[in-house]
Subunit: 149 residues, 2 copies
DNA sequence: GCATATTAGTTTCAAATGAAACCACTGACA
DNA sequence: TGTCAGTGGTTTCATTTGAAACTAATATGC
């Protein structure tokens, strides 16, 4: 069978492909370290993470901050409420809205998981120089912007 | 409500998170340009892409090359065969195996989609200098290696 | 040869996902 | 105050996903 000599597209070098495989592997490797151990899915962890930053947020605000789907947020919030990791407060002005924040046990969980997450991130970038990290940051900012056309 | 002043983990700056959101957005934006128009899912496109490189591959080899799940490969291959985009040849030594390659119409489809994909990639990196692209490449190689521990 | 382990690829089944429909409420405007 | 468009959040339903079980064939040990 004649082998096409100079294929113009090599999947292994194609940016969208490289990004998805890389990100899948990284997310899975990280989740492997906390999901079973703390009974926490990736969406749940993300919500924990934004709420851990301190400000109470409505579901819609969580959607904005995490870039998650609103259905995913709704479900993960429900699970976290069942597990008593969150507190729900009706908005006094608007009865549709409620703000969410970490409960005591949610905060405790957050404080357990954060070091694991940070340690994992640290390992990923451990061998990069300060400049390389700086450049990576700029690269991601650039790509984020280009996508918005 | 007192705002926790120095949260140790900011989701927006957390590498695994940045990677997944970025890669999701990029894959979706790209798929939007070919999926409906050519009736091609992301897994199907990936298989088309590796086979378009010229060498006939078995399903297992496609799994290796694309980092896809074997179930995903099996299903996408089935669909592509139904649509006559692939040809299937029994391996003469091993009756379990068969090698897959693009049919005439598969090749034609490939040649239609590749320019779209490459153009999209080009747009993503259009404003990056040669060095920045070089560094990006090294960065991905590095991260790929670190994941393997 | 005949068991036994392995490998290629498929199917099954249960869970994750997301678009669209939905419910409940607000806010504007007549 | 009554209607109606818009928003916050949930539910439904159809599709996608992937782990585990399965089928069929090969390879290995005896």
């Amino acid at each position: 069978m004649p082998c096409k000599p100079n294929s113009p597209l090599l999947l292994q070098r194609f940016l969208p492909y490289r990004l998805t495989t890389l990100s899948n592997k990284i997310s899975q490797a990280l989740a492997a370290q906390y999901s079973q151990r703390f009974d926490l899915s990736i969406p749940e962890w993300r919500i924990l993470a934004v709420l851990g930053e301190g400000t109470a947020l409505s579901a819609a605000e969580i959607v904005q901050r995490t870039a998650m789907d609103k259905v995913a947020v709704s479900r993960a919030v429900k699970k976290l409420l069942e597990k008593q990791r969150l507190e729900k407060n009706q908005d006094s002005n608007d009865n549709r809205r409620f703000s969410l924040s970490l409960s005591e046990s949610g905060q405790a969980l957050y404080e357990e998981v954060v070091p694991i997450a940070l340690e994992y991130e640290r390992r990923l970038i451990a061998e990069l120089s300060h400049d390389e990290i700086e450049n990576m940051d700029k690269l991601f900012n650039h790509l984020d912007n280009v996508i918005l056309k």
